[in-house]
Amino acid sequence: MIIILTNNNDNLRADGRAFDELRPLKIEAGVLEKADGSAYLEIGGNKILAAVYGPRELHVRRIMRPDMAVIRCRYNMAPFSVGERKRPGPDRRSVEISKITADALRPAIFLERFPRSTIDVFIEILEAEGGTRCAGITAASVALADAGIPMKDLVVSCAAGKANGNVILDLSEEEDKEGEADVPIAIMPRSGEISLLQMDGHITPDEFDKALNLAIEGCKQISEAQKNAIKNRYGEENG
């Protein structure tokens, strides 16, 4: 009798992860000196800094809101963060990501407490390896908490997708490039509501359903790491 040993899903991903497994994750709050709040996040090969200034006075009257604060986000990739040097300055991709990042974070913040002011979120991609927009949102949430911005919940973000015909969690750069679909989401974990959702690629509705659930599970895991980061920061201050 021949027994064929089969692994479960584990060995089907290039980096040996299970289909529903996140890349190694590390979050640290309060890493910068000047910003009102900050966070550093590593997931897989991504290295990301987020910083928050505010609520502070808004000088641009054109976008001021008399009844609440505005949130402005700037997602930026360092020239050395990718294989081929990226020219400094915003491009269309970073403009779009900046916008949807603000959209993803906005519902969690008690903006109405700070009329006529701004909360500025700066996300810096020091090194990119797939999934930077999600990692940026996750880090920004921790930075907002570190800045003491009152929030209903800690927004958390993660992608699922499809590669080699399988629905998988937290695509690496290679899986994103070679794979069939990418579904980055952000949720407010308490309510489970979705504040960011994008998708591009080719996926059936059933697979999408599966990917969405997987991404939500991923978010929940990352949410724990966020809370720990804030707890560590808080402990540190009181220790």
């Binding site: 054109r62 976008i63 001021m64 809101r65 269309r92 991709r93 403009v95 779009e96 900046s98 916008k99 949807i100 959209d103 906005r106 519902p107 679909a181 579904v183 949720i187 407010m188 309510s191 489970g192 509501e193 979705i194 504040s195 960011l196 959702l197 994008q198 998708m199 591009d200 690629g201 080719h202 996926i203 059936t204 509705p205 999408f208 359903d209 969405l212 659930n213 939500i216």
Partner: protein, 263 residues
């Protein structure tokens, strides 16, 4: 410019939707009148004018011979741009594309690209050296909500109807036959459906007034076989998972209607 909606407008729209009604008499899942006209710009190799209610845009297709990207040396290039013309709304200002315009162009681009509308490999002229670059320019003339569905519909119609010169290679030189133009290599015809969430209800084809009071927006692009190719959430408030799932199945049904307007 921040667009402040009078409380009374907001209230009236919300109350109507509570009763399954809308200000212009439509039902929750009904589109406004749609018209699609192709070939409206003779100098453009492809073109379409789309009206959805009072929203109007023109899409023009221009081909150009250029260098392929170094990582995809044997495939043509599809480029999508949009201009929110200041004539289209008192809210739009002249100047370089702002984040709304960039979002519109990039979501349309993803829907076309990931929906595999063109067989880009057939747009290679000399492998590694020269390929067709197909420019899709979305020119928004009148803005009364739901630009995304109109932009995708217009882009697909313009691409379907486009004819570009036949390019052949003789003795290492590219010969363009402008007398006998050929259609673009159309693969799929993806379409997009956008929903606004107002008072917990997902309504199709939001008008500008509805967009101004909506909590959230979701746009979904699907191919003819019902597979999904693009998705984009917008707006200031979140969606539930159930709302997303429901929007997907409603999109698959609704794009069948939209498909009727394609040439």
């Amino acid at each position: 410019m921040v667009n402040i909606v009078p409380e009374i407008t907001r209230k009236s729209i919300v109350e109507l939707i509570e009763n399954g009604e809308r200000a212009d008499g439509r039902s929750i899942d009904e589109y406004r009148d749609i018209s699609v006209e192709v070939g409206v710009i003779e100098k453009a190799e492809g073109s379409a004018r789309v009206k959805i209610g009072k929203t109007q845009l023109v899409v023009g297709i221009k081909p150009q011979i250029g260098d392929p990207f170094s990582d995809t040396p044997n495939v043509g290039v599809l480029m999508t741009n949009s201009e929110l013309l200041p004539m289209a709304s008192p809210l739009f200002e002249p100047g370089p594309p702002d984040e709304r315009s960039v979002e519109l162009a990039r979501v349309t681009d993803r829907c076309l690209r990931e929906g595999k509308i063109l067989d880009l490999e057939k747009l290679c002229i000399i492998p590694g050296e020269k390929v067709w670059m197909i420019f899709v320019d979305i020119h928004v003339l009148d803005y009364d909500g739901n630009l995304m569905d109109a932009a995708v519909l217009g882009s697909v119609a313009a691409l379907i109807s486009a004819k570009i010169p036949n390019a052949t290679v003789e003795d290492d030189k590219i010969v363009l036959d402008e007398e006998n133009p050929v259609a673009l290599p159309i693969n799929e015809k993806p379409l997009m459906c956008t929903f606004a969430k107002i008072n917990g209800e997902l309504i199709n084809d939001p008008s500008l007034d509805e967009e101004n009071v909506m909590d959230a927006r979701i746009s979904i692009g699907v191919r003819e076989d019902g597979s999904i190719c693009a998705m984009q959430k917008g707006g200031e408030m979140p969606l539930t998972k159930e709302e997303v799932i429901s929007a997907v199945s409603r999109t698959i049904e609704k794009t069948k209607e939209l498909r009727e307007y394609l040439p």
